[in-house]
Symmetry: C2
């Protein structure tokens, strides 16, 4: 019976690494820089050195290690092959084989957003459930789908790309993906700021957000802070946001019928009020058989990736 | 190594039963009536008698039977519990236990639409793939989602209820589920007839469908027959249908990223032209990472249920 596993969260700037026991307790965690030079060729050797160094430092026997899981910012297929992680300078690379060869322990790679969902299911907002949706509301909207306790990767690693569900026919601006009217254009931090700026431009109604706009400081945070202070215009913006995201999550629920929907990412720092705005419209639009899904906030923050990566090798 | 399994498709009027080998060859198939009297209490004993009779007739040893799978018209949870199959007069019943007790072989129950998807993956339009979406376009729109070769049941058995994805904000009429603007209201056989009648009422444009309307004979079949004859108004209706269903399937693809999307049910008798209308709008609305999904027609027809039920016990 193995005692330990490692979870690695590979980001564009830093690599977070955690040493876990198989029950989900973090025994150690640390970071190393992501060296992207030379087409990212130093990244996996750096990670291998860091993990092997920790194994030596802690005097861990290799037989006591289940493996090393790793979340990568790009689509990863079931065999651990990354196809074009542009942020890292990578082309096509089989992480399971390359990093596994360097470490001589089993390696399992997954997409970072999907892996974070696995982490929240294991030890976070979705703990104890096996059918879960994570919506990560950050600069964009990422997602991870858990069905029967396992990550949904999909045929080409694009499972859980919920930010690009088409949700609005009348959107003049293009999304980063090239589409028009993607969920991400309304439910991300930048999307909420966009909704706010549009609303401010369309009315003359008084609001604390007007001063923020003059300072160029309209953000998801200023909007939800204003909501908490009862600002009427900010509340209208939160309703719009809640309707878009609630409607999108209702569509997702008709596909996978989750027990719990977890909201994470920077926007989720707004707290429980966020769940209220989203759940209101979710219940309006969802099929009655899926109405019982609970809304919860993510609890692992930036550590969701290392938790999920560790869980990946325990599956 | 077992040699045989049974697949049972329990419908409101008849029960279809198939005897299969474990490779997916039908060795025998037959039907018995569904006796719904006495709150449906005769249904499972009738099925048990039919299966046991066949076992005796074919002189099959019980050890050579992997089990009996059964598709049921209602939500079924992972333990085989049906909660209210109103068409059958049932309340809450654990099919796996009750039918398993009668047969003394393992029994596994699933929702009929989900089970049909498993059948199409095993031996039909989705053969050879493990990530698949089946959209069954009949009186309503049913669905089944296959992820990593397994059926997505969901937390309360409502996985794959894709007919109730909210797709249209401006719908005055209510769907059977109580919602407004569900995919089923546009993409089912009745939905297509509704789109056609609305279109005919809204214009004076000439069309062969006008004569059909006077006979009260506007249907999905008359619409697609007219499309094949180049009727301009019918083609506009097919575009509307294709846009609704393509947009809905694009949302589903952002969740589970299927390799193949199979169109089944009565409407799919229209043939390949149906896939063309749907794929056109799917490609317009879907995230680029999911654009490669192939559209195929279901091939098992009314036998999808017995195939999928048999496969259920082989999982």
């Amino acid at each position: 019976m193995s005692k330990y596993c490692f979870g690695v969260d590979l980001g564009g700037t830093t690599v977070k690494i955690g040493l876990f026991d198989t029950e989900g307790t973090v025994l150690d965690k640390w970071e190393i820089p992501t060296r992207k030079e030379d087409s990212g060729s130093k990244i996996l050797p750096d990670i291998a050195d860091a993990v092997l160094g920790k194994i030596a430092e802690k005097k861990i026997a290799k037989d006591d290690i289940t493996g090393v899981g790793i979340g990568v910012p790009g689509p990863v297929d079931d065999k651990g092959v990354v196809h074009m992680a542009v942020n890292l300078g990578w082309g096509v690379i089989n992480i399971n084989e390359v990093l596994g060869g360097l470490l001589q322990v089993p390696v399992k790679a997954g997409n970072d957003a999907n892996v974070a969902a696995l982490g929240e299911m294991w030890c976070g907002g979705g703990k104890g459930c096996s059918d879960m949706v994570l919506a990560t509301l950050g600069t964009g909207v990422g997602g991870g789908i858990i069905v029967n306790g396992k990550m949904v990767t999909g045929a080409t690693g694009a499972g859980g790309e919920i930010g690009h569900i088409h949700i609005e026919d009348d959107e003049p601006d293009a999304c980063g993906c090239g589409g028009h009217g993607c969920l991400e254009q309304y439910a991300s931090a930048t999307g909420i700021a966009r909704l706010a700026n549009r609303k401010l431009a369309a009315t003359t109604q008084d609001s604390v957000l007007r001063a923020a706009k003059e300072r160029g400081a309209v953000s998801a945070k200023t909007v939800f802070d204003a909501v908490k202070n009862g600002d009427a215009l900010a509340c209208e913006i939160a309703e719009e946001f809640g309707e878009y995201l609630g409607k999108g999550l209702a569509a997702i629920a008709c596909v996978v019928n989750p027990e719990v929907i977890v909201l994470g990412g920077g926007v989720s720092k707004a707290g429980g009020i966020l769940c209220e705005y989203v759940a209101k419209y979710y219940k309006k639009y969802v099929f009655h058989g899926c109405r019982g899904a609970q809304f919860k906030l993510a609890t692992l923050g930036n550590d969701a990736g290392i938790y999920g990566a560790a869980k990946l090798v325990l599956e």
